[in-house]
């Protein structure tokens, strides 16, 4: 159990570092930027306390904000995403609830389930993020284009990251 906590703490630090040092420098076409750090919210186990999840999301967003000097933008979007996760999990749950030892990754839940799960939550996060950043609906469609393009790149990175701990020999 303790080992699990350390795994997620390590993941937190690794994701914040990757985001601020590597991914913030990647720009396709000048303004499309992947935000991989939300992987932590996707990867936390199903039985995580929902209030704890919100608090983790808050601190995750806050650390990204401090590195970007965009105080509040990532924090609000990540908290919103953690809020949505509870309801999304309810809506897309398998018929006989989640297994006790299952984790939200491709290994346990299968590709199609994971795709739906990550696409919806990434869109929640990016929509909130970009509209809070612009803070107006005056450039609605150009912001929407940024949301969609950035989501695509974030999702590609999330799926690649899933391959790192995919072990085809372990059958669920």
């Amino acid at each position: 159990m303790i080992r699990n906590y350390f795994t997620y703490l390590f993941m937190f630090i690794l994701l914040v570092m990757t985001q601020s040092l590597l991914l913030n420098n990647i720009e396709f076409g000048g303004f499309i930027n992947p935000y991989l750090y939300i992987l932590l919210i996707l990867a936390l186990p199903f039985e995580t306390n929902e209030n704890l999840l919100l608090i983790i999301a808050f601190f995750l967003g806050l650390s990204i904000d401090i590195f970007n000097s965009t105080l509040g933008i990532h924090t609000s979007a990540t908290v919103f995403m953690a809020f949505c996760r509870k309801y999304i999990l309810k809506i897309i749950s398998p018929r006989d609830r989640y297994d006790f030892d299952a984790k939200p990754n491709i290994q346990y839940m299968g590709v199609s389930w994971y795709m739906i799960y990550s696409i919806i939550l990434t869109l929640c996060h990016h929509l909130f993020l970009f509209y809070v950043e612009t803070f107006s609906f005056s450039q609605f469609f150009s912001t929407l284009a940024r949301v969609l393009l950035s989501s695509v790149f974030t999702l590609i990175l999330i799926l690649i990251s899933q391959l790192f701990n995919y072990n085809p020999n372990v059958r669920k």
Binding site: L54, F58, G61, I66, S69, L71, G72, S76, V79
Partner: protein
């Protein structure tokens, strides 16, 4: 009362969510209104040091470009220096001429963090309060304008880049001298917009746009860019002008910070004349 507490515990998830969101937005608003009072940004000690040690690694890859830029700059300064002029008129040519008063002083700084992909881009520099950097100083690089210092900590300063959607800079067309405002709409980091140029001015694609020197943050005639395209919307008295920056903000590494020595005097004078008018 007990029912109320029960209600809160039962819905703790939603209340916690609302509380955290409220807190996040509070930070957002505070941070936007009072840039100078914000502490949690990349000019704070921990993050600044972290970025500067990371960017030290990146500098080796830029050295070639930086050297070329410095050599160009040196050559330009050399050609402007007093020794490279020959005396044609007059008998006396004093280098220390008392009829000139230095009004701007420059100091160098290194960029330790830089973004170009947001609507509000900031640059972090490795000089701060201890190097006598203050908010509202101008920042330029050998190829043109970079931005204005917003926050300073002891060792770092955070610069509001020209690529900031709230940035409004006074600019003029070098050839004709007409001035307008430079704004950036947040779409392309190579282009900005010049507004408030009246429709009777003759423009040519490729005209140079420079700083006007009105704000006394930047000296006059610092390069901003060239006109890329312009059009006159029907029924409008002002042009829509697109400018291509002379600086590639993604390659920024060494910059100059400008201190205006006469700014306070100028502002005091302008303030008094405004007050007497009222």
């Amino acid at each position: 009362m007990r029912n109320l507490i029960k209600f809160f515990i039962k819905n703790s998830f939603i209340f916690l969510f609302l509380l955290l969101e409220f807190f996040a937005f509070w930070m957002l608003v505070i941070n936007n209104n009072y840039q100078s009072s914000s502490y949690f940004n990349s000019s704070n000690y921990l993050v600044g040091n972290f970025y500067s040690s990371i960017s030290n690694i990146g500098y080796y890859f830029n050295l070639k470009d930086v050297n070329r830029q410095l050599a160009d700059e040196n050559a330009r300064l050399q050609s402007e220096s007093i020794e490279s002029y020959i005396k044609i008129y007059g008998k006396i040519f004093q280098i220390k001429d008392t009829s000139y008063l230095q009004s701007y002083s420059y100091s160098t700084a290194k960029v330790v963090n830089n973004t170009t992909n947001k609507r509000q881009n900031y640059i972090t520099l490795d000089k701060g309060k201890l190097n006598a950097i203050e908010p509202e100083m101008g920042v330029i690089c050998p190829e043109g304008v970079v931005g204005i210092v917003k926050n300073v900590s002891n060792q770092f300063s955070s610069v509001m880049s020209v690529l900031h959607d709230k940035n409004k800079m006074s600019a003029k067309i070098k050839k004709s001298g007409y001035f307008g405002s430079l704004v950036w709409n947040g779409n392309n980091y190579r282009e900005a917009q010049l507004i408030d140029i009246p429709n009777h001015v003759k423009l040519v694609v490729g005209d140079t746009v420079v700083t006007s020197g009105f704000s006394s943050i930047f000296p006059e005639n610092i390069l901003i860019g060239t006109i890329k395209e312009f059009e006159l919307p029907e029924g409008n008295n002002f042009y829509d002008i697109t400018i291509e920056f002379s600086v590639d903000y993604k390659k920024l590494s060494h910059v100059y910070i400008i201190k205006s020595l006469l700014k306070e005097e100028k502002q005091r004078l302008e303030q008094t004349s405004q007050e007497t008018k009222e």
